[in-house]
Symmetry: C2
Subunit: 227 residues, 2 copies
């Protein structure tokens, strides 16, 4: 479902070029549950932004569901992305003037879902992440972990076939983190493809394959024994 | 050095009152190394904001270095705080238009440190957190963990006697997290008082005492065996 070939991302700084990703190649099949690990600054979020069609590579190819993403025009790309991919950002990226309910509702509005149905779905997903009693809090009235959970609910609400989550448990206590992994596990059992960046070994053990990065390069790709 | 008595924080929402902290009392002596743990939403950041003099309690008393903080006027409070406390925020709170160097330099400018000296100190602290080659990147040109490390450097640069760190390793891989804990350990050996919020058990084992919270209340206070 995801094919990445020689994916490269270079940021042009004033006096030099910074190679954030260098010739990264791998394949991910439908229904896989993959973690992405590596040191701070090794290129994980850069990769996730490329996979999520939020950024374009400097060179290399990215095929999503056999479609070469670079061939898609902006609005086709946006629809393609909103329908197929749910993205949990490392820094959440919630809209500060909307409350939790409205933030989670947004992707459903873009997908043209009716108001009555949106109401149902948003409440259901906020309840899943334990935030039904925080629906009308805005992001600055939520704790760090609550904000993270709103971002997770928002990523799942359109029932995407691919979930990209960048450090989804970074601000969660162990138990809340386990609850989130349960949600991901259930989605994976339903056939969703899940790629999550994590620095926590315990979290990676819930997945079935670990892609390891260092200095912008893919340096490891192994199965998890007894996930 | 820190005495908290019946500290309470209530947020007034439209239809009800949310009790974020309820009658919290404890004492922390100079040179202690304490972790604060508890589920998402249990009041940890709210407590840290009160200890950091960034917010005022609804009721209760907070004595910092035997000074009742509620007695201080705004500018006295600000000077008191900037001199004594280094604060690492859960969401970093860097200034987006300044680069890493300028963000770390800011507390030194407020403290009236000369330009020549500031240059030295900022470079030294950015090197400590491994970011000497990212000095001129702005926050949106840094990885999540790099942004976190800039926030840590900024908190330490004025050599404060008290360090309050809210999830300082939440976005760091295990090794970078260990390097940060080494920095905190060295500062603690020098006599600094350190209070850090963490959800990671391994991180809490580096400290010597754990305060546990649940639903806004202090529910546990124990020593760490063999930190
Ligand atoms: N400005 C606010 N208005 C209303 N409620 C708030 C506000 N800030 C925080 N809260 C609520 O107070 C409670 C405690 O929040 P706090 O940020 O202290 O939690 P926390 O322990 O730091 O959680 P986390 O581990 O998720 O960061 C939460 O339930 C949160 O929803
Ligand atoms: N817009 C940008 N301009 C310049 N350099 C950038 C930019 N964005 C990221 N970088 C650099 O690219 C490298 C990879 O960043 P990336 O965010 O992918 O790392 P990461 O693996 O997600 O790290 P972390 O675990 O700390 O979140 C970093 O060294 C970072 O400084
Ligand atoms: Mg990242
Ligand atoms: Mg918090």
């Amino acid at each position: 479902i995801i094919v990445v070939e020689e994916l490269t991302k270079i940021y042009k700084m004033e006096t030099f070029e910074l190679q954030a990703l260098q010739n990264v190649s791998f394949k991910i099949y439908p229904g896989e549950f993959v973690s992405v690990m590596g040191p701070s600054g090794s290129g994980k979020s850069t990769l996730m932004n490329l996979l999520g069609c939020l950024d374009t590579p400097t060179s290399g190819r990215y095929l999503l569901d056999q479609q070469d993403v670079s061939m898609l025009k902006d609005n086709t790309l946006a629809t393609f992305r909103n329908k197929k991919i749910g993205f949990v950002f490392q820094s959440f990226n919630l809209l500060p003037r909307l409350d939790a309910f409205q933030n989670v509702e947004l992707p459903l509005i873009y997908a043209g879902v009716s108001r009555v149905e949106r109401n149902e779905i948003v409440k259901q997903f906020l309840a899943k992440v334990g935030l039904e009693d925080r629906m009308h809090h805005r992001p600055n009235q939520l704790s760090g972990g609550q904000t993270q959970r709103v971002a997770i609910a928002r990523a799942l609400v359109n029932d995407p076939s691919i979930i990209l989550a960048d450090e989804p448990t970074g601000n969660l206590d162990t138990r809340s983190g386990e609850e989130i992994m349960q949600i991901f596990q259930t989605l994976n059992d339903e056939g969703k493809t899940i790629i999550l960046v994590t620095h926590e070994h315990d979290i990676s053990l819930h997945t079935k394959r670990i892609l390891s990065f260092r200095d912008g390069q893919l340096v490891g790709d192994k199965k998890v024994e007894n996930p």
